[in-house]
């Protein structure tokens, strides 16, 4: 049996999630032994045609071309996994969903007529069926390897969708909200990073997006109590997973 073919594609994104894969230095050789890396432009210009057994897609859909392209990627992929806040929630560029893209275009570009973009930045799952969504900005290296390993073994990835609080408590981090009065999105944010920021005495800023069980109306009064005014709360929730938290806000 030949090795499963792995492909990595990129839509609108910063490449950080693909870099996370390249940063798995200790595991890269094992990975290269377990799969045939068939399309991964960030790593190699050698490209093999599909179909692919496991395709990882980074980035959101922001152009008509990418909306087409992601359908072709889906058609060429047995399993399609989206990686990172852009691919799973539209990313920071989904701020445009709440604004006037034409105005942005006129303000930013000297020749706005050269720019062809959709009015919204949307997750891949808005366009095609997705087998698994891996959150994070960027994705967590350990979880990334777990997802690839799980798909190779044909099992469910061990990626819990509970809150970041679980991770703080498991690693013995003192709660920054309760003990320091620091605004923190941990109670509503999807675990996965290992509760990195609170371990450095910073509040979670939600880069893994909403957890599986979110109660924003209960959290917002705490953010206000801990020093964020209404605008600051808005900004806090409108970063890397702006569209996903906005949906929670309005639900």
């Amino acid at each position: 049996m030949s090795a499963p073919k792995l492909a990595v594609f990129k839509l609108a994104s910063c490449d950080g999630c693909q870099l996370t894969l390249l940063n798995c230095e200790d595991e890269l050789l094992a990975l290269a032994g377990a799969v045939e890396i068939s399309h991964f432009l960030e790593a190699s210009s050698a490209v093999l045609p599909g179909p692919y057994d496991l395709t990882l897609v980074e980035g959101s859909v922001t152009t008509a071309e990418d909306a087409e392209r992601v359908r072709a990627i889906r058609a060429a992929s047995r399993h399609l996994v989206t990686i990172g806040a852009c691919a799973t929630a539209g990313g920071i560029q989904a701020l445009r969903n709440l604004a006037d893209v034409d105005e942005y275009r006129r303000t930013v570009y000297a020749h706005p007529e050269y720019i062809s973009a959709l009015a919204t930045s949307t997750p891949v799952s808005d366009h095609v069926d997705v087998d698994f969504e891996l959150r994070g900005c960027p994705v967590d290296r350990r979880q990334f390897l777990e997802v690839i390993t799980a798909f190779l073994a044909g099992r469910k990835p061990d990626v819990p969708n509970h809150s970041v609080c679980f991770e703080c408590k498991r690693r013995g981090t003192v709660c920054v909200t309760v003990a320091h009065g620091t605004p923190c999105l941990g109670p509503v944010t999807h675990a996965g990073c290992g509760a990195l920021c609170p371990a450095y005495r910073r509040g979670c800023f939600g880069c893994f997006g909403p957890s599986g069980s979110v109660n924003l109306p209960a959290l917002i009064p705490l953010l206000r109590r801990d020093g964020l005014d209404e605008d600051a709360v808005e900004r806090f929730l409108h970063t890397f997973n702006t569209a996903a938290f906005d949906k929670e806000l309005r639900s």
Binding site: E27, A30, L31, G33, A34, L145, E146, I148, T149, A150, L152, A153, R155, D158, P160, N161, H162, S163, C165, F166, K169, R170, R171, G172, T173, V174, C175, T177, V178, A179, H180, C184, G186, P187, V188, R201, G212, S213, N215, P217, A218, L219, P221, L222
Partner: protein
């Protein structure tokens, strides 16, 4: 209780010596220390790391470290962790399996990590919590072998409570600020004009042998009376109380209460209450494979009834609403725990109140459930 040997008194030098002796005997000493704006539990290499001169100011959803003029080491409560972090750790490998190129699979049980622990400064509520977890994890037919190994090897040095916090309510759970049997040594800290000292009661042969190697003097009547007085006074200074009713019956009769909806509107379902609770014991197990697919491991890790996956059965969680998850936690803790393990699951340590980000107070919630039941009965 019959003391194994008469009580003794040690001073802070004696406490230093106690830690030194424990370390010299190969014990991993765990006790309270100041870190990240809280009194956490951590491995200690010297008694000087104890939180001398630090206390805490507690409220629902609020914990602040505050200096204490008396320099006391054990005048604090409701820390962010409990001893379960050591006895029943957040992650533990249970076994691994390997497959040879010929396809033969072999299984290897993990050796439990069981250092020889000495827990220094176990508060009476936490002694009771350890006893509850003992029953849950080692009392039935299937012992948690890792827990059992760590627990049997652990030496417990209690610190009786003379400074209950604003979130404490152990007395209303049937406990109190005095240490129940089960400890090896029990300290009662006294700071007054006669100096900073600790009354030491001996609870086991091992405790007695330990004290032999530590400079101490026989307890005098004044120190004993002062210590008793301080613990007795603590009994009357609990910040909170559960209603003095049959909680098992109250919770058992309240599954349809409206209060659960009110609670669910405030609850973040973040799981913090269960993770800080010293008796919550639930775990999940996960299999992980490596990239070759020839090596797999089973890990046990803390879980919580607030996790949607906790009740996930064929395509969905059974308890999807916040209402049903909070109700499950509190009803189990105060009511069905009796059916399962023969006691309440709550020792009144107050951690779930202090460490709930939104400050949900179980004493207040139970009082509201009771009020609702009374209103229903009147109708």
């Amino acid at each position: 209780m019959t003391a194994i040997a008469p009580s003794a008194v040690i001073d802070t030098d004696g406490l230093d010596a106690l830690v030194t002796v424990l370390l010299a005997r190969g014990r991993t000493v765990v006790g309270p220390t100041v870190r990240d704006g809280a009194i956490v539990l951590a491995e200690l290499s010297s008694a000087s790391q104890l939180p001398y001169g630090w206390g805490v100011e507690l409220d629902a959803g609020r914990y602040r470290l505050v200096p204490r003029e008396d320099g006391a080491a054990f005048a604090h409560s409701a820390g962010p962790q409990s001893w379960k972090s050591w006895l029943h750790p957040a992650r533990e490998r249970l076994w691994s399996a390997d497959r040879t190129p010929e396809g033969e699979v072999s299984f290897t049980a993990a050796e439990p990590e069981a250092p020889s622990y000495a827990f220094l400064g176990v508060r009476p509520c936490d002694l009771r919590a350890i006893a509850i977890q003992d029953g849950v994890l080692t009392g039935g037919r299937y012992e948690d072998t890792g827990y059992g190994a760590r627990r049997r090897g652990a030496l417990l040095i209690a610190a009786e409570c003379t400074e209950p916090g604003a979130t404490c309510f152990c007395v209303s759970t049937g406990g109190g600020p005095a240490a129940d049997p089960g400890y090896d040594l029990a300290l009662t800290e006294i700071v007054d004009d006669d100096g900073h000292r600790f009354l030491v009661r001996i609870g086991s042969e091992e405790g007695a042998r330990l004290l032999d190697d530590v400079p101490h003097r026989r307890a005098d009547m004044v120190t004993e009376a002062t210590a008793r007085g301080a613990v007795d006074a603590a009994r009357d200074r609990m910040g909170r109380a559960l209603p003095a009713v049959d909680l098992r019956a109250l919770l058992g009769a309240s599954p349809e209460a409206d209060r659960w909806d009110d609670l669910a509107s405030r609850c973040l379902t973040c799981g913090n209450c269960t993770l800080v609770c010293p008796t919550c014991f639930c775990t999940t197990t996960e299999e992980v494979t490596d990239l070759t697919g020839d090596h797999t491991e089973r890990w046990q890790r803390w879980d919580s009834c607030f996790d949607l996956d906790f009740s996930f059965l064929h395509e969905g969680p059974v308890r999807s609403s916040g209402r049903s998850r909070y109700r499950q936690w509190l009803t189990h803790k105060l009511s069905t725990w009796h059916d399962q393990f023969g006691s309440s699951g709550c020792v009144g340590c107050g951690r779930c109140i202090a460490w709930c980000p939104v400050g949900i107070d179980i004493t207040e919630e139970v009082a509201a459930l009771r009020a609702e039941q009374e209103t229903e009965t009147e109708r």
